[in-house]
């Protein structure tokens, strides 16, 4: 993989009159890339098939009738059965699960962005004070606490407090994301010059106003990062809804798949149609906003 780096080296100065014509020719040949490595492109393309084949498999299986399932399963369907989706839609009560998941995800993202950035701001700007520095490390230490140790007690607690609901889940995602989010928000806020806030304060803005009018808008790149991470987490999470939610009508999409799997495990095409419907919403969002999602996650890591 690494020896491809050789290809990136400068063009060979083979003849004295080459520089005048060579650049144009090269640009036409490989789009101005300065030497595309086709072998590596092919290798990467083959590797990308490992990602695409299981997805292809999910799609074709969801379109088949049960009697077409023999063989390797990679064959294209001979006749398409769209009713698989209608069946899955009804069996898993898809619209309800979708609504629950969407509600929890949107709620978690909003509450996380509004509160976690605020806490991080207060900590970042008062890091010289013992209290805030202590808080910073208190929150950070929680990154090392695995969820299974909280799992049993928090179920008791949420049941006791009436938080065994989608609203409770929103709160839990906001709280459990706090550690990591504070870590990346604080790093980012430290890079924002304090002078900007001081100018606003001179104009008579209160600390709250400074945060909402000056700091929060400047945080947009980090808000995008935290928003994407929280969204993917809350949408796909299985364990927390499994243990916390007590009302069966509050089921999320992954939870509905789990229960569906237990009840109708023989009809694979319908099961796959149901998987596809559960995976589709986030996949569609990702395809549309791909560039944005990738750069969002990247930014979080560069900090």
């Amino acid at each position: 993989m690494t020896d491809t780096l050789t290809q990136t080296s400068a063009p060979l100065p083979d003849s004295p009159d080459a520089p005048t014509r060579a650049p144009r020719t090269r640009r036409r040949l490989d789009g101005g890339n300065g030497g595309t490595n086709w072998w590596l492109t092919i290798l990467i393309a083959v590797c990308s098939l490992t990602v695409l084949i299981p997805l292809y498999f999910t799609v074709v299986t969801a379109l088949k009738t049960p009697d077409q399932l023999g063989g390797t399963g990679f064959e294209l369907p001979t006749s398409i059965r769209w009713e698989n989706f209608a069946d899955a839609y009804q069996l898993t009560n898809f619209p309800r699960a979708l609504m629950n998941t969407a509600l929890i995800t949107v709620g978690a993202v909003f509450l996380t962005l509004l509160t976690n950035s605020l806490v991080a701001y207060a900590i970042a700007r008062n890091m010289h004070k013992k209290f805030f520095k202590g808080l910073y490390f208190y929150f950070l230490a929680a990154i090392f606490v695995p969820f299974p140790i909280i799992m049993l007690p928090v179920v008791k607690e949420t049941a006791l407090l009436g938080l065994d609901t989608p609203v409770g889940l929103i709160l839990l995602y906001t709280v459990y994301g706090l550690s990591f989010n504070i870590f990346i928000f604080v790093a980012y806020i430290n890079s924002i010059p304090v002078e900007l806030e001081e100018a606003a304060r001179l104009d008579g803005a209160s600390t709250w106003m400074v945060f909402w009018r000056v700091i929060f808008p400047l945080l947009s790149p980090m808000n995008a990062t935290v928003g994407i991470l929280t969204c993917v987490w809350a949408w796909n999470d299985f364990l927390l809804p499994l243990v916390v939610l007590s009302d069966p009508t509050a089921q999320t999409l992954p939870l509905a798949q789990f229960i569906f799997q237990g009840q109708f495990n023989t009809n694979y095409p319908v099961a796959f149609a149901s998987y596809l419907m559960a995976l589709a919403p986030l996949l569609v969002v990702y395809v549309i906003a791909q560039k944005w999602v990738v750069s969002g996650v990247t930014r979080g890591s560069v900090k």
Partner: protein, 312 residues
């Protein structure tokens, strides 16, 4: 309001105007306290209290319902004689070590490929990142079917009857299926992180190395790898920690089976705690697990950080 400036900029001036300084110190921080105190209270309530109450109940024989008595450290002593628990630690660590190494090696290789002069770079990057947005539970169900039906059919057709069994039905090899599924899903996120790291390396360094006649492997070893050392450390620590908590894909692939051969620590805590009436006992398990994760994370950080380099 502008008096806050005195606090921030000229602490020396505070002594000359004590009244103003005191009022600003009293006022501005109060707003900051209001910003954090509700969060601290809720965090303490929903995170720290469960941890503390869990630690307390690990010293009891609480079943999850009914009455309980303090039993001292007997839960902890029993843990070390419980084959099911010991087996789950063995499985979880083996799984996490293999998966962490594979995910990081594969993700780094893909990121290196994506970072070099290839065609359709953006499209390939988009493809490799897809698994990140897919729920591992559902991916697990898809792979479950692949392992049970498709792969055996393919191997039979290829004339390899030795491989035509269901991988997940074998007590010795089911863990490999879990590793494959996990790596498929988790590599995506690490690819993006490594790619971010690779893009911070200046092309000048490679050009200088090329002039010195360094080979591709030599350049990777002497430039690329040391410079993305911080990313390597973070990725190793975070993926190892998250793989030690493996749960979803096991539920979807093997449900801990065959027998209890692929039961992870999280699954044992879940089953024993919720279904087996072992609340106190599994909390002891969870406390041990917490300390194991903390120790392992710190060891990893110490060992890996020594390898990092920075040219600045």
């Amino acid at each position: 309001m502008s008096s806050t400036l005195t606090r921030a900029k000229t602490p020396a001036a505070a002594s000359t105007t004590p009244a103003r300084a005191r009022s600003s110190i009293a006022r501005t921080p109060r707003t900051f306290y209001w910003m954090v105190v509700p969060a601290v209270v809720i965090f303490f309530g929903l995170h720290t209290i469960p941890v503390l109450s869990g630690m307390f109940f690990s010293l009891t024989n609480y079943a999850g319902y009914g009455t309980w008595d303090l039993v001292g450290f007997s839960n902890y002593i029993n843990l070390f004689q419980d084959d099911r628990v010991l087996n789950s630690y063995g499985f979880t660590f083996g799984f996490a070590i293999v998966s962490t190494l594979l995910v990081n090696v594969i993700a780094l290789a893909i990121a290196l490929g994506l970072n070099s002069k290839i065609k359709f770079q953006a499209a390939f990057r988009g493809v490799f990142f897809i698994p990140y947005v897919l729920a591992i539970l559902i991916i697990g169900y898809v792979f479950n079917y692949l392992f049970a039906n498709s792969f055996p059919a393919i191997f039979t057709a290829l004339g390899l009857p030795g491989l035509s069994g269901n991988l997940l039905a074998s007590p010795d090899f089911a863990w490999i299926g879990i590793v494959i599924t996990t790596v498929w899903q988790a590599a995506a996120f690490n690819v993006i992180l490594y790619l971010a790291g690779l893009q911070t390396i200046s092309a000048d360094l490679y050009e200088a190395a090329a002039i010195d006649g360094a080979s591709g492997w030599r350049r990777f070893r002497s430039i690329t790898f040391p410079l993305i050392g911080a990313y390597f450390t973070i990725n190793m620590v975070l993926s190892f920690k998250s793989f030690l908590q493996v749960f979803d894909q096991i539920v979807a692939l093997t449900a801990g089976g065959p027998g209890t051969s692929t039961e992870s620590i999280a699954l044992v805590i879940f089953r024993g705690g919720f279904q087996g009436g072992e609340y106190g006992y599994q909390m002891a398990n969870a406390v041990v697990y917490l300390f194991v994760i903390i120790i392992v994370s710190f060891l990893q950080l110490r060992i890996l950080q020594r390898r990092e380099a920075s040219f600045s």
